[in-house]
Amino acid sequence: MELLLQQILAGLANGAIYALMALAVVMIYQAIDHLNFAQGEMAMFATFIAWQLIQWGQPYWVAFAASVVVSFLGGIAIERILFKPIHNAPILAQLIAFIALFSILNSSAGEIWNFTIKTFPSPFGMEPLFGERLISTHEAGMIGVTLVILGLLYLFFRGSRLGLAMRAAAENPDSARLVGIRVGWMIALGWGMSAAIGAVAGMMIAPVVFLEPNMMLGVLLYGFAGAVLGGLTSPGGAVAGGFAVGVIENLAGTFIPYFGRELKLSIALAVIVAVLLVRPAGIFGRIVVSRV
């Protein structure tokens, strides 16, 4: 029983990171209807920026805040410079742009900071929470941070004019323009927010997986899985999906004998495919009906 509880909690902790990545993926998906394959590399690069600042002697939270702000601005810049000009290009052209961005960020990070593995500090510490061995303070912190970000996003999208404008631009760009919303800037803002959320995810996972240019590859895959499972059109669903993927992965790894450790990713993805067969738009997603 304790093993089960422990595995669920550990799954939720990993799931928190998948949830953050899923959230970042959904933010951009809502704006441009594409998955951002470079999402993980953007997060990794942001984490390196924080690491560099810490190396230069800045306190953790200063480095954290700076990384989030730089990511936000960087996300906007990437949209304005790279993706706005090809907004109407065929999907393959956009895909190539995502791959280019992935590759540029990955190799630049390798060039600047090299490929050796680095440790990254946790702001919450790695001690057992309340002296129990069930979950560490860092794991609890990851879950807390994810829930706080989800809450802030909810308040932003439901309670502010700018949030309303962003939702309108995503739902119906033509009508949004007709009420004076600058749709292009709303898309850029979505990129900025997505990059900032990704930066937080990177800095939360780095103490666990260690910092190096390829650290986000697996995480992003789980993030995509979480987003698709929860529904690409629903931020809350994406977070739930991310947590679910983390728990399924961990339980499969522990309790399914023989496959366990090696195949836990396959098992998690198989469960997701099974869910999508029943609910193609994800558990919380909305089926998009388009007139032809």
Binding site: R161, E171, N172, D174, L178, V179, G180, R286
Partner: protein, 235 residues
């Protein structure tokens, strides 16, 4: 003149859909654009709003606005109620109205204007927390007009407001439009296939055929024209 249009041409890709049309609308006036399907009525409104590429001259309050971005044209006080109503279907009625005021900053006045819109359209008030996509066609058209009003527009571009609505609802809607014009002095450029209705509301009308204006004049004159009667009024 509040709106003056000279030699307006509009394009879909390489295809020219309007071949140089001229018309004008006085401050607070109502003008109807009539014509069959495909005559260029909707395209004219889209050209005015900067949704399609346009050439020629569009002057609003003496200022040339041809080629400007839609978002900037809206900010001058031109509210476009598009074909198909442009409802934000997944948002509430209230949110749809708030979106109409997105180009404004005067929050206190926006709240008062929302009350005013509800006074004009009591049915919307009953449904303010409901998802707009669940409204009936007539209610969505009321919402589209209400959303446009939230801009405090000086000019409304109305694209087939009667489309798909039951006759009684149409009558109600046109009464409201006429009242809005009288009370608020909002100018209206209205595109209609229902020529009878449009001529009742408008003082002046233009008849479009395949991207050209073929006739214009006061509504009463247009109504008496035999060709118009045969083609559009069904006498």
């Amino acid at each position: 003149m509040m709106l003056e249009v000279h030699g307006l041409r509009a394009f879909y890709g390489q295809n020219e859909a309007l071949h140089g049309i001229d018309f004008a609308l006085a401050e607070g006036g109502i003008v109807a654009l009539l014509g069959a399907n495909g005559a260029g009525k909707t395209t004219t409104l889209r050209a005015l709003s900067g949704i399609v590429r346009a050439a020629g001259e569009i002057r609003f309050d003496g200022e040339t606005i041809t080629g400007r971005a839609t978002e900037d044209i809206v900010r001058l006080g031109i509210a476009h109620v598009p074909e198909g109503r442009g409802t934000f279907v997944r948002m509430t009625v209230e949110e749809n109205l708030q979106l109409g005021a997105m180009a404004r900053r005067d929050r206190a006045q926006i709240a008062r204007d929302a009350k005013e819109v509800y006074a004009h359209f009591p049915r919307l008030k009953e449904r303010r927390r409901q998802q707009a996509g669940t409204l009936s066609g007539g209610e969505q058209q009321m919402l589209a007009v209400g959303r446009a009003l939230m801009l405090r527009p000086r000019l409304m571009l109305l694209d087939e407001p009667s489309f798909g609505l039951a006759p009684l609802i149409v009558e109600e809607l046109f009464e409201i439009l006429s009242r809005l014009n009288l009370e608020l002095g909002v100018g209206m450029l209205i595109v209609e296939q229902n020529a009878e209705l449009a001529l009742d509301l408008a003082e002046h009308a233009y008849l479009l055929e395949t991207g050209r204006i073929v006739m214009s004049g006061p509504s009463s004159e247009i109504r008496r024209d035999e060709a118009v009667q045969r083609a559009y009024l069904g006498y």
